[in-house]
Symmetry: C2
């Protein structure tokens, strides 16, 4: 084990990929993004950081967006939404959609969808972090177990940015807020 | 396929788990956290959202912290750092450490470590999002392939919060910024 110093830059861990859904003048748009995280439990709030893209302009205008989580079988169309700008291609017909209360497009084939109202924008260098209140949360009944989203059924798509690879989720590796209690007792 | 409306709350996708490392008066502390994401490419900047914990107080005081990424084999000790507060237990001797330029503890058994200087704090409900400039990035040479962090070697630990499960990373599921080009050509 020898730790090497790398050039400070992107930290290469796997992140869930979402389609950021927006709508302007009746036309839906989708952009793949992976710099996202919950930031608040109460109220439920999530943040996604975006470079200078059309999606950013539309969220500023409309104040709403969705985060639609594709499964591994949707890898190619998701990647398409990451390589082609909405300024160059009409992505509005890529997916069957449904709507909640914000009007942002929610994707039928994404088994997990969140719709958000923009709370504020946190500027970070050339990126902007869009912090949204989760006002609607939807899951396909096929991925629920006891009313909760079951990741083994959802099969989320993960991105490893620096090596430009998507990954599936692997096997369970332990019980959270439980195995640590056993660790304490063994010490 | 039938989409059901859930109560707005935590969106259950898998997230990488990090140990947030801090030091005060010569004593190191670690807290497991999974609400984290890159937020800026230039400068390299990362954010982690924390509830009201000791770690938050120490980062406010010192202005520095580390994000140390454990592998699946470190699941139990990582979970321990998530269930036991630094106000109740001395976690300083849990890991062998090394230091970079900030003085925040970096963990030898974590094959990927980032050290950060606090840039600003974004308040989100009861949580606070600590946004830090990545000033040091370290990887164990055993997880590098062609000088880049190789997730197949790193074996990152992922958390699914709502079902309280850790997961390993699964098999590769596609090529980013490439499969979407083929998708476009097929359309």
């Amino acid at each position: 084990m020898k730790q090497l110093r790398l050039e400070p830059g992107i930290v290469n861990y796997p992140m869930p990929v979402a389609l950021v859904g927006t709508a302007r003048e009746g036309k839906d748009n989708y952009m793949a993004a992976a710099w996202l995280s919950m930031v608040s439990h109460t109220p439920p709030r999530i943040a996604v950081s975006l470079g200078p893209h059309l999606t950013r302009d539309i969220i500023r205008e409309t104040g709403v967006f969705s985060l639609c989580f594709p499964s591994v079988q949707d890898e190619a169309v998701t990647d398409y939404c990451g390589v082609i700008s909405g300024t160059k291609a009409d992505k509005s017909a890529l997916f069957s959609t449904f709507r909640g209360e914000t009007g942002a497009p929610l994707v039928q084939t994404c088994a997990l969808n969140a719709e958000c109202r923009l709370n504020h924008i946190d500027i970070n260098g050339l990126n902007e972090t869009f912090v949204g209140d989760i006002v609607g949360l939807y899951a396909d009944e096929s991925v629920l177990t006891d009313g909760k989203v079951d990741l083994a059924k959802l099969r989320p798509l993960l991105l490893s940015q620096l090596d430009a690879r998507y990954y599936a989720l692997g096997p369970a590796a332990g019980r959270a807020w439980k195995d640590g209690v056993g660790f304490r007792q063994r010490r």
